[in-house]
């Protein structure tokens, strides 16, 4: 336990990055996922088709490949993140962090889209019919009637998607972000005799984050449950 307690600041810093990655890409993928689902259930055929293929393709690609694309191929298209240079306290948010956020967001938003779509499908038919009957347009039907209910119905699948995101932030370590797994690897290298304790400590960190999030999601779901 010595290795972890004596380097507790590094331990916290690692999970700090993990949480930042989670919160930022989580929020962005909720936004992007909502846009995607609007495309996928909307009236414009081209968008339905494009949204469908986008989701299918990105969902079938391993996250590592998505990361690698933005790290090594996107610069060829002039997509660079060198301009990202923010420092808050001990945390540096630079191109590496930005690339991690972009990759995680694009990947996760596809799953958010699917979760929301299952939510849209769970809204009773009568709701949409009633909305149309009182003269709401597609935009109005979606934003005032369907999506609010769909969000409620999709809290459990959305929470699962976001929990997967918490765990997926660990992939950022392969691409130069000093998040929890990166810190764990440094720590196990410097204190190889305490490998198991270090591993359990980091696993416990993730489990704590996942459980807290899951607890909140459960509360939300009970609070919002559609009768």
């Amino acid at each position: 336990m010595d290795a972890v307690t004596s380097n507790f600041d590094l331990f916290l810093k690692g999970f700090g990055y993990t949480l930042f990655l989670f919160l930022i890409s989580g929020l962005l993928s909720l936004v992007l996922g909502t846009l995607l689902v609007a495309c996928r259930v909307g009236p414009v055929a081209v968008l339905r088709w494009a949204g469908g293929w986008y989701v299918t393709l990105v969902r079938s690609t391993p996250l590592v490949v998505v990361f690698a694309f933005f790290q090594f191929a996107a610069p060829m298209l002039g997509i660079r993140f060198g301009w990202v240079d923010v420092h808050i306290g001990a945390f540096d948010f630079t191109s590496f962090f930005a690339i991690a956020v972009v990759a995680l967001t694009l990947y996760t938003s596809c799953f958010v889209c699917e979760a929301l779509r299952s939510g849209v499908n769970a809204v009773p038919l009568g709701q949409a019919e009633a909305a149309r009957a009182i003269g709401l347009t597609f935009g109005g039907t979606m934003s005032q009637v369907i999506l609010p209910q769909a969000f409620r119905a999709s809290v459990p699948p959305l929470a699962s998607v976001l929990i997967a995101l918490i765990k997926n932030t660990s992939v950022a370590f392969i691409f130069g972000v000093g998040e929890a797994v990166a810190q764990m690897r440094i720590m196990t290298n410097n204190h190889s005799s305490e490998r198991t304790t270090i591993f359990l400590a980091y696993a416990a960190g993730y489990i704590l984050i996942v459980f807290v999030f899951s607890f909140l999601a459960n509360r939300l779901e009970r609070h919002w449950r559609v009768a």
Binding site: T61, P62, L77, V123, R132, K167, S214, A217
Partner: protein
Amino acid sequence: MSASVLFDSPGPRTVARHRAYSVVAAVLIVVAVAWAVKGFYDHGQFAYDKWEAFTTPSYVQALLVDGLLQTLLMAVLAIAGALVMGTVLGLGKLSDHRWVRWPAAAIVEFFRATPVLLLMIFIWYALGIKEDSSGFLAVVFALTLYNGSVLAEVLRAGINAVPKGQSEAAYAIGMRKSQVMSIVLVPQAVKIMFPAMIAQCIVALKDTALGAAVLAPGLMRVGKAIYTELHNQVPTMAVVALLYIVVNLLLLWLATWAQKKYVGEKKLQVAMVGTMDTGRGV
């Protein structure tokens, strides 16, 4: 609910508007794709020598044999292991005995809440003893533990999804619990679970790519070796991604087919991680 009930069947003006939207959207998509193609072209990414490796037999063989085959092998072994582990833990979670139920639940929650990459790295270090292909084994074990836990939850959800009358009827005609499980519930649950199981195969297959971090073989590793030698990152990445996508699309298609054939519209309610849900279905 199908998409069509979200909007009225459009009148002439709306049809015109939608057509306008379609044109704008199509143009935007085409422009974006063209811009990407031009970007790659300007950087010489379409030059033959960048792609030559993928028409050279030795590289194609490396990609398919050392890459794809190893990736598939790892995924298949992991899924096989996960099925065994998932069955044991899933039935454990459904046990009448608290001392079986709780440990099973704890194991499931632990592995579902821990990142696979972390498991892989740990197992890799732990295995490192005089063993060939410890990277390969680390990937297989880590994916077995993770997917096994997920499948345990899927199994439980599947058994819970079998109508209650089935088990009640089975008990009523005097079956024991083990008989109710093996004769009545599990066979029906497997049918319901099938799509979710295939979906989990896709997850496992994609996660094998993480093995690159622990020197495991597979597509990602071969891809890296190729672009390190030939400096053709973009073509290599495209080919590697394409291979993953093709295999995954086949699996996805299988899952959709199975959903239609065996399950219909019914959705499986798999509990979220961290809920410590030990409710019994029987």
